[in-house]
Symmetry: C2
Subunit: 301 residues, 2 copies
């Protein structure tokens, strides 16, 4: 039984879709009311939203690790904010969390379309995703595994994921993608209402997911400055396969650098915020998730 769901927007202050969806719903809460659970909304990084920046001191969506949340000596704006938000929304790891499910709204400058980034492997999380894929056949699912997922906003609740929508520049609202994000959240609320009621949902038994494999950084000089950009043939080709020998980067000297390695799917190609994080795209394998027990089985790419 899900008693509380939180919709969080503005975790990154320059991703306006989540900011304005939350503002919309705070004005018109009826739109997100359902019969058998409570939905709360939260504008996350208030200062960054005001300054239309991703963050003030460091990325809020990397600030919810248990160690950091328990470290009283951290003095940055986002470290303190994460603690406040955890008390309000999560109480991470607590037996009685304030919120059972978090959906965190993001946009990306990559051509990711309508996608979900998920690390949580709970049954409820994946049943929700299965329902959304049923309602939105174009929805893509990226299963993120690495060092950082335990510090994501949605990690403070027992169930949840992030919605990533693109391509949208920072500081911009695109009506088409705003409407798609809004519709997806309504589907999620409908799912929770149905999941909470005695009627049995008829969900797909397996889901196609893109499982994170590795990060690919830009070519860089000794000072760390980039010396090339995503090749024009790879730009916007999110969720497509890259094969050995395909054009990957174009250097500033007009040389084409090609891809070396096994065939994998390219995601988050040329996301603005990842220049400083040190990657030009991520690589993923296509797998299937069996919904019954949430185990992950590899299929051939």
């Amino acid at each position: 039984m899900i008693k509380n769901l939180a919709i969080t927007g503005g975790t990154h202050g320059n991703e306006l879709t989540g900011v304005y969806l939350v503002k919309k719903w705070q004005k018109r809460p009826k739109l997100i009311e359902r019969s058998n659970f409570k939905t709360v909304t939260q504008l996350m990084n208030i200062r960054a939203i005001k300054e239309v920046r991703r963050y003030i001191d460091h990325d809020l969506n990397r600030s919810f690790g248990s160690t950091d949340l328990g470290n009283d000596s951290l003095e940055t704006y986002e470290a303190k904010l994460a603690k406040e938000l955890n008390i309000k929304l999560g109480k991470k790891g607590d037996e009685n969390p304030n919120v059972d499910f978090i959906v965190d709204l993001h946009t990306t400058t990559s051509n990711m379309g309508l996608s979900i980034v998920v690390s949580n492997m709970s049954d409820t999380t994946w049943r929700a995703i299965a329902y959304l894929c049923q309602k939105e056949p174009n929805l893509k699912v990226y299963r993120w595994q690495g060092d950082i997922e335990n510090a994501f906003v949605d990690s403070i609740a027992p169930h949840g994921f992030a919605i990533e929508v693109g391509a949208v520049p920072q500081g911009v609202l695109r009506a088409d993608l705003f409407l798609k994000t809004e519709a997806l959240v309504y589907h999620l609320l409908d799912f929770v209402e149905k999941e909470n009621s005695p009627s049995l949902l008829n969900l797909p038994h397996q889901l196609e997911v893109y499982e994170h494999k590795e990060l690919v950084d830009y070519p860089r000089d000794e000072q760390g400055d980039i010396t090339g950009m995503v090749h024009q043939d790879r730009q916007d080709m999110d969720f497509t396969l890259i094969h050995e020998g395909d054009a990957l980067f174009l250097t500033l000297d007009n040389e084409v650098m090609t891809y070396k390695g096994e065939s994998l799917y390219t995601l988050f190609i040329n996301e603005s915020a990842y220049y400083e994080k040190g990657f030009a795209m991520t690589l993923a394998q296509k797998k299937i998730v069996l919904i019954k027990d949430c185990s992950v089985e590899k299929i051939e790419t």
Copy 2:
């Protein structure tokens, strides 16, 4: 005779195309060498470039007005920087300017394609534009007139304009548009070389231009926050006509606001940096410029 031309990049620190073109040419100056004039390159807003922000205190590309340049009491980062850059590149209004021609490299989140924003009406400026339009038939020319053009970077030299390329998110290099911008600058250098030599250039006698008419702001609440976004049917429709009754905005309450007024061309639709400046797009009329004497004649839209 043009003796010196300056290519300026990073006037806005989050518009990477100009930043990395300048870095490229500073490493490989042969690429921009021509036989009969000198080309200099300048990275403009160094601090903003480092922080990948448009500016630190205020917009550098509104900081070159003669009054501001002559006002020693201005203490902002950009006000001081503008004075330094004016001494180095311009000496605005001086009989012996350091630089005869400035081309200032910009990108926009709007779908502006390859375009020129020009206020200067000098013969040389418009002969250059005519040559570029001959070489790049898709190039669009936006003649800006308002209160701010005298404060643009290119206003400190006798001749010049800005190149605007989009759609590119801030903090992102798109290889396709990087290459188009680079090619356009090479055409400009070729023009200057030919213009400086005795041979006569065979230029078009008239040019189609989009002449600035007015700004259209977003719907806003009493606090100035936007209450609507560019309608999905108008998004990306830069350089197309909008007619009375066409969808203009979609409010956060899902109401369609339509356009009222004469048929005009919409430009700079949904540029990120203009949310704070107070406009969602600009409106322009199509006119022709006669190259011989640079007079501007209206033609029917």
